[in-house]
């Protein structure tokens, strides 16, 4: 459109601007509408997918994990509530709820032995032993169930010690010194006072203090039976119970 000088020209320009703005708003609206539609379509397809692969999701932990990732990308949380489409269709809410209950039971049952700290791997092994309907349970499943437990304020926590993950079911707070000892213990399942002093460069007092606290909390057990007469502090939470231990 040719600009024309004078008031008439200005009015035309204003009208033109208005028109452009309207078109612009329209375009934005169309874009949003399109996006909403795309998202709705995507959600429908995801639901379709879930319906079709319900069995795979229930039976296969790797598949289940990827499904969760997919859902997360779309902003869907199948675990968000026990009601609604996802829970009803897949019973996924129930699956994690039941898992959570079993995790609590196992932690309570093993607490006298390990003081309320259990190796995530061992927890999974024990869970799989319990599952009568042979549905596979992965570490990923455990972590999800535990994060749901956390939301309920049950005091459950997953902590990392070295390369391993431990599930804590007691309010015992582990400080950095305790953590370092646990990490050291991962190599052989136990430590000696001497070893702690040497490897971590601590004073004898600091080592004994930390070890005694861990002992009192039920996280460690003493062993005076080795022929070298040195007291060993064993940590049930870092060793796997299923393998016999022998140290020379």
């Amino acid at each position: 459109m040719r600009r024309r000088p004078g008031i008439g020209g200005l009015q035309t320009a204003a009208a033109a601007r208005d028109q452009y703005r309207l078109v612009g708003e329209n375009v934005a609206k169309i874009r949003t509408d399109m996006m909403k539609e795309q998202l709705a379509t995507f959600r429908i397809q995801l639901e379709e997918f879930a319906r079709k692969h319900k069995n795979d999701i229930r039976k296969n932990p790797a598949f289940r994990s990827q499904f969760h990732e997919m859902c997360a990308k779309v902003g869907v949380d199948p675990l968000a509530s026990n009601k609604g489409f996802w829970a009803e269709l897949l019973g996924i809410g129930d699956f994690y709820y039941e898992l959570g209950v079993q995790i609590v039971e196992i932690c309570l049952a093993t607490r006298p032995h390990n003081g309320g700290l259990i190796n995530l791997q061992e927890l999974c092994i024990l869970l799989r032993q319990r599952k009568s309907d042979r549905e596979a349970v992965s570490e990923d499943d455990c972590l999800r169930a535990i994060s749901k437990l956390k939301v309920l304020g049950s005091g459950f926590e997953v902590i990392s010690v070295g390369k391993k993950k431990l599930v804590r079911s007691v309010p015992t707070e582990l400080n950095k010194d305790h953590n370092e000892i646990l990490e050291l213990a991962q190599a052989q399942g136990f430590v000696t006072v001497e070893e702690v002093e040497r490897r971590l460069s601590w004073t004898s007092g600091r080592a004994i203090d930390a070890l005694d606290t861990l002992l009192d909390e039920g996280l460690a057990m003493i062993d005076d039976g080795h022929r070298d007469r040195k007291r060993r502090y064993w940590f049930p939470c870092v060793s796997s119970n299923s393998t016999p231990v022998a140290d020379t």
Binding site: P112, H113, G115, F190, L215, D216, G218, M221, I222, D223, D224, G225, H226, R227, R232, W234, P236, N241, S242, P244, V245, A246, D247, T248
Partner: protein, 179 residues
């Protein structure tokens, strides 16, 4: 799982610290409970009635992990069984312990059923026959410790189910059942 002959050993048996008496109370309680159950279980399946503290009782050491229970530990676990009524010290020095993997009352019930099952309600048997006679074969009574047997018989005698008397030969007692 490690085995001792036919017997399946529990996991804790292979975990060295369980062979040291634990100082922390809760841990110690758990430890004692595990050992009590193991001892009773093992004695029941192996039909062991007496444990000598200084003898080579199989459960007192585990060569695989090179650990043995100290005398103090052995006494602690057995004393716990005694407190629960599942064992008795046979002497003041706490050197021999009678293991009641069946309580005396349970043994009395077993004898009662044994008599009924074999139609012996009005008969007479020697004590030795009860524990090693043909009828006892294949039953829990076979090979039962004499001390325990006598106790159980006396329980039944108190209830009027039988009478114990001195036999004709100098070394055995007899039992007349009246059930």
């Amino acid at each position: 799982m490690q085995k001792l002959g036919d017997f399946k050993l529990p996991h804790f048996f292979n975990y060295p610290p369980y062979f040291t008496l634990q100082p922390v109370r809760d841990t110690r309680e758990k430890q004692v409970q595990l050992w009590k159950d193991l001892i009773l279980d093992y004695c029941k399946t192996q039909k062991i009635f007496v444990i000598g503290l200084e003898e080579d009782f199989a459960l007192f050491s585990n060569p695989v992990i090179e650990r043995s229970l100290s005398h103090e530990a052995r006494e602690a676990f057995l004393s716990a069984l005694v407190s629960e009524g599942r064992a008795e010290w046979l002497n003041k020095g706490h050197r021999k312990c009678l293991i009641l993997w069946h309580r005396v009352q349970d043994w009395a019930d077993i004898i009662f059923r044994f008599v009924k099952d074999n139609g012996l309600e009005d008969s007479v048997m020697t004590v030795e026959e009860i524990r090693s006679g043909i009828e006892s074969r294949g039953t829990e009574l076979h090979g039962i410790d004499r001390t325990i047997l006598m106790r159980a018989l006396r329980v039944l005698e108190q209830k009027g189910k039988l009478a114990i008397f001195k036999g004709t030969s100098a070394d055995d007692e007899g039992v007349k059942f009246s059930m």
